[in-house]
Amino acid sequence: MKTKRFLSVGLCLVIVMLAFQPINVIAQKYFSDPQFKVKLDFNRWHDVNELFADMARLEKAFPKFLKLASMGKSYEGRDLMVMTINNPETGPEMSKAAMYVDANIHGNEIQGGEVCLYTIWYLMENYGRIEEVTRLVNERVFYIVPCVNPDGRQWFMETDGGNARAGHLPVDDDNDGLIDEDGPDDMNGNGIIEQIRKYVPGQGNYRISATDKRVMEPVPFGEKGDYVLLGEEGIDNDGDGRVNEDDKGGYDPNRNWAVDWQPNYVQGGAMDFPFQLPEAKAENEFLMAHPNIAGVQAYHNSGGMILRGPGAEALGEYSGSDVRAYDEIGNNGQRILPFYKYMVIWSGLYTVHGGFIDWTNDGLGIMSFSNELWNSSQYFSSPDLLKEREDPNSPISGRKSSNFFDDKLEFGDEYVDWKPFDHPQYGKVEMGGEWKKFMGRVPPRFMNEELCHRNMAFSLYQADEMPKMEIGETNVKKIGDNVYRVWIDFTNKKVAPTITAKAATNNVVRPDLITFDGKQDIISASWISNKETFDYLNPITELIDQKQMKRLLIRNGHPGKSTRTLQYLVKGTGNITITYDSVKGGKVTKTISVN
């Protein structure tokens, strides 16, 4: 009886305890999503300070994993902030392959910054909650740089957005000895550099489109229109008789890298020599100081592309083994990122000399992708819309679609209509007829979170497929007097090799090392052709012809998704410790007892 009563009291207690469990624990388990530790917004565009402030908030919330640092300064003195994501409990940074993600090298290609921020946030908020995320954070290191051209981004955010592709190194575009002295001027102070049109009844060469009054169209041959276009808003700042001929910028930060760098007359915007730009120099110094980086993603916009090198045809296609690894990741990328195409830069986009990912692939031996974020076809996100787009009478055909979607989805937020203006040089004119700076290159804000998530998912997939060495089964057999045969399996289950063929050809990654720590004499070391049939068929081996048997160099590394078996013939007994040490594939060790 007593026992029974005691049991029932116990049962009651359990029920009571369940009932009084804090509400949010139950909620997490059965009902709503968990609360986030850090609330961020991904449906608006951040300026540089906002980006950095959000990074600082994340670092503060997740101090164990996150370390915020500056790689260096931009020309105007802004920091190039890099967030390191590393779980110190699973090893120091250099012992693990790292994924490097940057964005916004072109100042006006901003949304990559938000993707970076989202990536840090997502990995941290879901660590310990989603098993795969937890594993990735434990196994890999991430270096996330949301903005490698903060001068360009800030200029884009603060101004009308013109010429924000470059950074702010002074360049004399018009060769008059003065630098950046005559850019456009926002004369009516509305933050937009508009077109100027003048009403000249019957004397012009432009007219207002009959189908949409916002569109100016050139008149057909032989007819007259009522308008002339007078270029973009601005005046002759330097009094040289020309308008807006020397704005800020005038170069391309993504042509200043040291592989296939070509002078300005071959590659416009290349600057005078590689790494002349303080941003590129600082970034390269960071990359070279982190040889564990095995994957690179550099976000650009737009067009919906997953790009890889080479940037120029003359560089030649990558060798077969590299292409296979790239293709597997790129093809899966097309599934993760609908409306994005996997392409080679020179054949799919255009020729780029001295681009960033050619440097990281050829010069640093890192598998590198560059996504062109956002494809305006994403407005047509159903087969029906895609079909209707082809009908010239539809309101979503051709150029009309921009106005249609802006009107109906964003309530006309992106368009600036014509308004009269009294111009000091041109007299009474109208200014307007222009899209705001966000139109075209970035998605409508409400679509950006999807963009962030899908691109992050692709980069996390690439990060997961970076090389990761394992030592598999081992086998020791006595084959003579005090002579032993030792077999060791080395495996890399990931898609990427520890050293790409390009890296091996260019000798830019330290070879993998297999070290043998034991007091035995090594008679020979060889790769064996097939472990399963070795004892029955002709035991052909590939002898390793190196002088230092206890420190073998594997210059072209370990391929993706493969296992190799190494055979040592040794004299003597005792423990041996074998280490496979790969700069990009990690360092693994196993001790084998020989007797």
């Binding site: 040289d240 008789g241 040291a258 592989v259 005078d272 590299d322 597997e328 020729t351 002088k547 072209n556």
Partner: protein, 672 residues
């Protein structure tokens, strides 16, 4: 005053004493602190440069363009007499030397040029005119860290600076350098008896080695290695010596990507970057003359604009070939055999290869542009004329040891900056009469001097080229591992050993170590011998004075060639009603155009600007307020301008002409 002697010249004690006296004489005369009789280490060079500047403050100024990793300054002497036109706006000749660490003669000749110009100012009209109107920038030693190795107890002949490098990419830095086995202070080569060897003793000259030609029934009897031991026990000798980057391989034209001594990437070195930043800050440099181990003066470019071929020494090439495979050790054939096909996982090998990539989008493909790799035919004449004058003044006929200028500074300044750019080793081989007929190249040299070099077939073309050059490893196939074993020196240019040996013998220069038996820890019996590093790339120091004078005369000649922009003529016509017509003619009174064709092509030389200093709205017709023209030929060629402006009688209007390489001029026009 420091006087430095090499051991090999010690025996010429009497001669040295004579030089010393000459030196003292010079010192008293012009305040020099140096003589021309020896090569200078960094401290001596620094003293010499500073003494020149300090004792001639009117003309000379010394500054540093940068500090090397070894803490040494890269000096630049600015020679110009202050005057009305600021120095930074005058057309300048840059003389730069000793990019290759072993090329000491270049340093010495640069200094001699500086002395010649300074000491001649008072007496020589030509020098006076040049220093009054132009500028000489003289950088005697671009690679002071590398040059210092030439003054070490053991001479290695290394051309590189001191950046540590992993030449064989084995994860260890600078772990296997040369060793002086025969204790003579010279790193030469070793020959080892070897049935698998590729080389045999040259029957014409038993001191030299030749590649055996099996087609002639010859067999290889020797292998050849650099002098040293296998310090890191990897099977290779001297495959990763101290130091890293050859400064004349680190510039951006025809850059030898990922090749040994070229640096980690273009402009990776402090020396290179300092130099380029200095160039960008001195746009008045209108011509470049370098001393280095490539040439376009002793032998001018071909009619197609290609430079003469390299002239290596076989002995050096053979030894280098022995270690060329060191950086390929450890290549595993794909899949390690063990892996292929057996452990395939997933759809890794399924054939999706590059198909979407090849599926080019609708974006337009512009035809690929490439950088020029030969001298523009429109510019060729300027190079040919300079070469003719060079040979006339210096008497040098036969090129010494030379190499192809991949990543060389003077190539960068022509192809990317568009400047007339010259390079000379600064000396030549003087051959006994009987050899000039037979020639020097592997016993078959072209007659020196007046010949037209290398017809199309032999012409040097730069690795498939591009301004960035493209000597990169293209498709990147996987080389099979062939560790050890002597490699074929193969397609390399045949050496000039025979001619070189004759030159040394005839001039009684102690520049060849006769083969000497030595016990080697790995090979046993070997012989050490061959050309000595200092003498390979430098003439005897007693030649400095004579070569210095002739090169100074040549530098002075170059400084007379600059473009010189003038407002040649102006005319004002009063059209009445407040309208005036202004006519002007701008001329180039110099010999060179205001920009070479390559300067126009590369968009690196600014167009000449012609600006009428009026308000834009005053101009009614004719030319714009601001006008540009790309280039104007020299020798008095003219360009016409005409404006119709509003103004009033008595107005003063400036007409300004600014040429980046040809100076500036200002005309004051009065409306009347």
């Amino acid at each position: 005053m420091i006087f430095r002697n090499f051991p090999m010249y010690c025996r010429k004690l009497i001669f040295s004493t004579f030089l010393l006296l000459t030196g003292l004489f010079c010192l008293m005369n012009a305040g020099y602190s140096q003589t021309a009789g020896s090569y200078l280490n960094y401290d001596e060079l620094t003293k010499a440069v500073k003494a020149l500047a300090d004792s001639n403050k009117d003309f000379a100024k010394v500054e540093s363009i940068g500090k090397t990793a070894g803490g040494r300054e890269i000096w630049v002497l600015t020679l110009a007499k202050a005057g009305q036109v600021p120095v930074a706006e005058r057309p300048a000749l840059l003389i730069a030397a000793n990019f290759e660490g072993d090329h000491l003669i270049g340093s010495s000749l640069s200094l001699e040029i500086a002395r010649y110009l300074i000491s001649g100012y008072a007496t020589d009209e030509g020098i006076k005119a040049s220093l009054d109107n132009h500028v000489f920038y003289i950088m005697p030693r671009l690679n002071p860290d590398g040059a210092e190795n030439m003054f070490a107890a053991i001479k290695t002949g290394s051309k590189t600076n001191s950046t540590a490098s992993d030449a064989d990419n084995d994860g260890r830095l600078d772990e296997d350098g040369p060793d002086d086995l025969n204790k003579d202070g010279q790193i030469t080569v070793m020959r080892v008896k070897d049935h698998n060897g590729l080389y045999r003793i040259d029957p014409d000259e038993p001191m030299l080695m030749k590649k055996a030609d099996p087609a002639k029934g010859e067999r290889g009897e020797y292998s050849i290695y650099p002098e040293g031991i296998d310090n890191d026990k990897d099977g290779f000798i001297n495959e990763d010596p101290a130091g890293g980057t050859d400064i004349n391989r680190n510039f951006m034209h025809a850059y030898p990507y990922f090749k040994e001594n070229a640096g980690r990437y273009m402009v990776s070195e402090i020396e290179t970057r300092s130099m380029i930043e200095w160039m960008l800050a001195h746009k008045n440099v209108a011509m470049v003359m370098t001393f280095g181990e490539s040439d376009n003066l002793i032998v001018p470019p071909t009619s197609r604009g290609a430079l003469s071929t390299d002239r290596p020494l076989d002995l050096v090439q053979f030894a280098q070939a022995a270690i060329s495979e060191a950086s390929r050790v450890g290549m595993v054939s794909e899949g390690g055999r063990g892996g292929r096909g057996r452990f395939n996982m997933g759809d890794f090998t399924r054939g999706m290869s590059a198909q979407p990539a090849a599926d080019a989008s609708g974006r337009s493909q512009r035809p690929a542009q490439t950088a020029a790799t030969t001298i523009n035919t429109s510019d060729l004449d300027y190079f040919t004329k300079a070469s003719e004058k060079y040979k006339e003044l210096t008497g040098i006929k036969t090129q010494p040891v030379l190499r192809n200028p991949e990543g060389a500074f003077f190539q960068y300044t022509y192809y990317q900056l568009g400047l007339p750019s010259f390079s000379t080793p600064g000396w030549g081989l003087v051959l006994p009469a009987d050899t000039t007929r037979r020639g020097a190249r592997g016993g078959a040299q072209r007659p020196g001097g007046t010949d037209t070099p290398a017809a199309a077939g032999g012409a040097f073309t730069m690795g498939g080229g591009g301004g960035g050059g493209r000597t990169m490893g293209g498709g990147g196939g996987q080389a099979s591992a062939q560790a050890g074993g002597q490699q074929d020196a193969g397609s390399q240019t045949a050496g000039i050993d025979a001619a070189y040996y004759k030159y040394l013998t005839a001039a009684k220069i102690n520049g060849f170590v006769k083969w000497q038996a030595v016990k080697h820890p790995e090979f046993g019996d070997v012989e050490v011998g061959g050309f000595t590093p200092t003498e390979i790339s430098n003439p005897p120091a007693e030649k400095i004075a004579e070569l210095g004078v002739s090169h100074a005369k040549f530098a002075l000649y170059l400084s007379t060639l600059f473009a010189e922009i003038k407002v040649a003529e102006t005319e004002v016509i009063n059209e009445g009603g407040g309208l005036f017509r202004i006519k002007a003619e701008v001329s180039n009174e110099g010999y060179l155009p205001t920009a070479l064709r390559q300067g126009v092509q590369a968009r690196s030389v600014k167009p000449t600007m012609v600006q009428l200093e009026v308000k834009p709205e005053q101009i009614i017709g004719g030319n714009n307020k601001t006008n540009f023209f790309q280039a104007l030929e020299g020798s008095g060629k003219r360009q016409k301008f005409e404006w119709l402006i509003k103004g009033k009688t008595g107005d003063q209007i400036d007409l300004k002409v600014v040429s980046q390489k040809g100076g500036t001029d200002l005309a004051k026009i009065t409306l009347k």
